[in-house]
């Protein structure tokens, strides 16, 4: 049941997306002489997304209604996969990972590559590992070594300037 609702959310989002895309296409500049300008293909794609999303929405609603009786093969298969996944999923951990990533990318230019990367690596390893597997010294050493090695390899061999931040 949850899956079908997910489908409705996704299709509604895509319908909205196509509407915004079409509206935004009207603002694209174009030469007056040619009929097919820079806005032609975006509008076509927006219309395509709209039509398919409407089909998708109709299908999802149909399945929601029919789910009391027999479901389609495809849905059942996907449900099986979902249930297997669901056993141990922790949304908190996913949010924490995304949060870490956002912080990492945001702080990279300010604090600099070396420090931010050490902190990120350590935090991410700690987060991903099972409680019994949390070996703080190993995580710490790997984080520092990786960060330093990556920084100097890219700086001196590939001449890629990584943000030095407060150390620079």
């Amino acid at each position: 049941m949850i899956r079908v609702n997910k489908d409705i959310v996704a299709s509604a989002f895509l319908i909205l997306f196509s509407a915004v895309m079409y509206a935004a296409s009207n603002n694209i500049m174009k030469l007056t002489v040619s009929k097919v300008g820079a806005d032609f293909a975006p509008k076509l794609v927006a219309i395509g997304i709209f039509i398919l999303s409407v089909f998708y929405l109709i299908n999802s609603i149909k399945q929601l209604k029919g789910s009391n009786g027999g479901e389609t093969g495809e849905l059942e298969q996907e449900d099986d996969g979902d249930q297997k996944e669901k056993k141990k999923i922790s949304p908190l951990s996913v949010f924490a990972t995304v949060g870490l990533l956002v912080l990492y990318v945001a702080l990279l230019p300010i604090i600099g590559f070396l420090i931010t990367t050490v902190v990120y690596l350590f935090a991410q390893m700690y987060l991903l590992a099972d409680k019994k597997e949390r070996k703080i010294p190993i995580f710490l050493v790997t984080s520092v070594v990786t960060s330093v090695v990556v920084y100097f390899i890219f700086k001196s061999i590939f001449f890629l300037m990584l943000p030095a931040g407060i150390l620079g």
Partner: protein
């Protein structure tokens, strides 16, 4: 042509390039053998490193990664019943039962040898097929090119996932994402919403790495990760006789041809080829009830098909500049990074690079078989490195790679955005491959559409009346209709007996 191949070898046979190929194969095998890491990821994080290299050296490295990445999956498939990559799913069906019976040696022997043979055959087909195809494609104008890209896009969208609507939506989403930035031909800005950073559009690399690698890392955080698996195994010889080898000859050849054919088709590659070859081998065999209980035929079918798909997938990339799957999409990115323009002119203008690629593939194939035989202990060791240490390191390399493209931090933000988008798509069961192909092929289709309309002065009919264009557009339509019909049939079968048929 023979001379060109020799020249190709000559350009690759330098100590530096050979070292790159060797390193590429080794890294590819490591990525392939660790479940959860794929050839796509290996190439994605290595691409930025190739910036400073000569095109031939860079492409050689990438070819090594490709061959290694596809082949490495057989190690955990046989030892642990875990496919290292999607290309080795069918290898687990018989490889693991063989290992359980104490026949891990022969299972590896068959898998490695037929990986090598399947790969070699497909590279030969690639060398024979790509140049004439490119010559043919030189005659194509915008009408034909538009039709071929539309054909490739619909094939990918309809083949890569369970649901046709979701596949097509993914493809369109990819095209929409590619429209951000300057329009082709007249370069008016589109969908930039006033952000200066968006004027150049999204770069291919952050999009690719974000959708494929970052999304997987976010997904892996759903569950707590345990430590790696430790296995000890030492390989001695092939473990089977010459007579046994010839018994598998026809099976290997048929599976290789299936792999090549499927590789050439856009949208599906080794991941599908190994399963189709396995099922075909099972249906054609007299001992079909022994499949799944540990029979070498199953391992041979799966492993020759997945390596054969490599050469197949490179045919449309090299001759037309159209990638058929994610790895070739990355390789296309690699070509562009090095200032080569993919398309039918590639062989004519940069023949040295193309024949260098062919030579590198053959050499990489030899390295692959040698390293798997003598280095098996290393690859089984790698399996014991825990994922919770590997994945964060890979993520840092992804970020470094994304920044490296243009040396701007905006791309790291884009990388993150696409990672979250990719994760959302995984959760909503949308296939990701069509997004990438839409992102690459969308601008190509639009450019050719508008160029064609300039030729015809705004008239759409040539797209339908030019014979080659008409054929490809019809094929595109047929692929959609075929998918609708097979979905309908599946549903009807299901309704009648309420079992899930694969």
């Amino acid at each position: 042509m023979f001379e060109l191949i020799l020249e190709g070898f000559a350009s690759v046979l330098t100590i530096k390039t050979i070292a790159y190929i060797l390193g590429g194969v080794a890294l590819g095998l490591i990525f392939g053998s660790i479940p959860g890491l794929t050839a796509t990821m290996a190439i994605a994080i290595t691409l930025p490193i190739t910036f400073g290299m000569e095109p031939i050296a860079a492409m050689s490295l990438l070819m090594g990664l490709y061959i290694g990445g596809v082949s490495g999956g057989l190690v955990p498939a046989i030892l642990l019943n875990l496919p290292g990559t999607p290309s080795s799913i069918a290898t687990t069906f018989d490889g693991f039962p063989m290992a359980k019976k104490g026949q891990a040696g022969p299972a590896f022997g068959y898998a490695i040898l037929f990986s090598f043979l399947g790969g070699l055959l497909s590279i030969i087909v690639l060398m024979l097929l790509a140049p004439p195809l490119a010559k043919l494609a030189l005659e194509f104008g915008p009408f034909e090119y538009f039709a071929i890209t539309i054909f490739a896009l619909t094939m990918i969208s309809s083949l890569s996932g369970g649901s046709l609507i979701k596949g097509l939506l993914s493809g369109l989403l990819g095209i929409a994402l590619a429209m951000v930035g300057s329009a082709p031909i007249d370069a008016f800005p589109r969908f930039t919403f006033g952000f200066k950073d968006l004027n150049a559009g999204f770069q291919l690399l952050p999009v690719l790495i974000g959708l494929f690698a970052v999304s997987e890392i976010i997904k892996s955080s759903e569950t707590k990760l345990k430590k790696g698996q430790s296995v000890q195994y030492k390989l001695k010889g092939f473990g089977f006789s010459l007579k046994d080898f010839f018994k598998q000859g026809w099976n290997g050849l048929r599976s290789s041809l299936i792999g090549i054919g499927i590789g050439i088709l856009p949208g599906i590659g080794g991941g599908t080829a190994n399963i189709i070859a396995y099922v075909t081998a099972k249906n054609q065999s007299k001992k079909s009830d022994e499949f799944g209980k540990g029979i070498p035929d199953g391992v041979v079918a799966s492993e020759s098909a997945n390596n054969a798909a490599v050469g197949g997938a490179l045919v449309p990339l090299i001759s037309l500049g159209i990638p058929g799957d994610t790895v070739t999409a990355l390789l296309l990115g690699g070509l562009i990074l090095h200032g080569l323009s993919p398309g039918p002119l590639l062989i004519e203008n940069n023949g040295d690079v193309v024949y260098g690629i062919f030579a590198a593939l053959i050499i990489a194939n030899f390295f692959m078989i040698a390293m798997l035989f003598w280095g098996m202990r290393i690859f089984t060791k790698v399996l014991s490195i825990p994922q919770y240490i590997l994945l964060p390191i890979i993520l840092v390399l992804c970020v470094v790679g994304a920044i490296g493209v243009n040396n701007r931090l905006f791309d790291a933000g884009a990388l993150l955005f696409f990672g979250i988008l990719g994760y959302a798509m995984l959760k909503f069961h949308f296939p990701i491959t069509p997004v990438i192909l839409g992102f690459i092929l969308g601008p190509l289709a639009e450019t050719n559409l508008r160029r064609g309309l300039m030729y015809s002065k705004g008239d759409f009919t040539p797209f339908l009346t030019e014979p080659i264009a008409a054929v490809f557009l019809t094929l595109a339509l047929l692929s959609v209709l075929f998918k609708i019909r097979s979905n309908y049939k599946k549903k009807r079968d299901h309704d009648s007996n309420h079992t899930i048929s694969l």
